[in-house]
């Protein structure tokens, strides 16, 4: 089973994502960017769902560090964000995210399709 890392400080969002994905993937949860970065080298997720508005180190900074780390830089990363503007998608892709999913998640298939597409790259 492929491993999905969910980096999100809101426990209800983590619970929702776990409920949507755990039949298909091994889901690991991290409540901060620092906790995630500390464990990624050992735990080797296959894909990351990364909240943008994390307290402390925000998602954009976490992404920067993933892309700067040799062992992690090719990891597919999906931005999870409450900024619901379509124009935002381009902005996140420009920043180096591989995909973008708006919160609250209301379409399970949209999420699973985007994950499947990135994992089959």
């Amino acid at each position: 089973m492929k491993k999905i890392a969910v980096v999100e400080d809101n426990p209800d969002n983590r619970l929702l994502v776990r409920a949507l994905l755990e039949d298909y993937y091994e889901v690991r949860e991290y409540d901060s960017g620092a906790a995630a970065l500390e464990r990624f080298a050992d735990e080797r997720p296959d894909l990351v769902l990364l909240d943008i508005s994390l307290p402390g180190m925000d998602g954009t900074e976490v992404l920067r560090r993933i892309r700067a780390a040799e062992a992690l830089r090719d990891l597919p990363v999906i931005a999870l964000t409450a900024h619901a503007m379509t124009a935002d998608r381009e902005r996140f892709l420009d920043q180096g995210f591989d995909e973008y999913v708006a919160k609250p998640i209301t379409d399970a298939e949209e999420l699973t399709d985007k994950i499947a597409r990135l994992l089959s790259r």
């Binding site: 400080d9 809101n10 209800d12 929702l16 409920a19």
Partner: protein, 120 residues
């Protein structure tokens, strides 16, 4: 499911229930009850300390949790207050809205409790 009153958007709640089922919906609702009062209290404490960034973070999470469960009015108010907090409160301060936030939370919580009682 659901009969929620106007604090809760039934369509959002229904869609969530269809996505995750009754058990997870109940767990998400429990998390809302567990965490939201602390966030509302954090916003009030941030007002007392005039801590706009602190308020913005609590409001952001509050907005997200409320949105997931269809607590539209609470979500929209938290979003507006978050924007005011992030813009530094120069044009308009989020602080006069704290009491309204507390009221909206109480109403959303009461509506969600009613939904819970009606659920199987």
């Amino acid at each position: 499911m659901p009969a929620a009153g106007d604090s809760i958007d039934a369509t959002t709640l229904d869609r969530l229930q269809k996505m995750v089922g009754d058990k997870v919906l109940r767990e998400i609702t429990e998390l809302f009850f567990e965490h939201t009062p602390g966030r509302v209290a954090a916003v009030r404490a941030a007002r007392d300390a005039d801590d706009l960034p602190g308020a913005a973070q609590a409001l952001h999470n509050l907005k997200s949790s409320a949105g997931m469960l269809g607590a539209k009015r609470l979500q929209q108010l938290a979003e507006r207050m978050e924007q005011l907090a992030r813009s530094g409160g120069d044009d308009e301060s989020p602080w006069p809205l704290v009491e309204q936030l507390e009221r909206e939370y109480e109403q959303a919580a009461a509506a969600l409790r009613r939904v819970g009682e009606d659920a199987p």
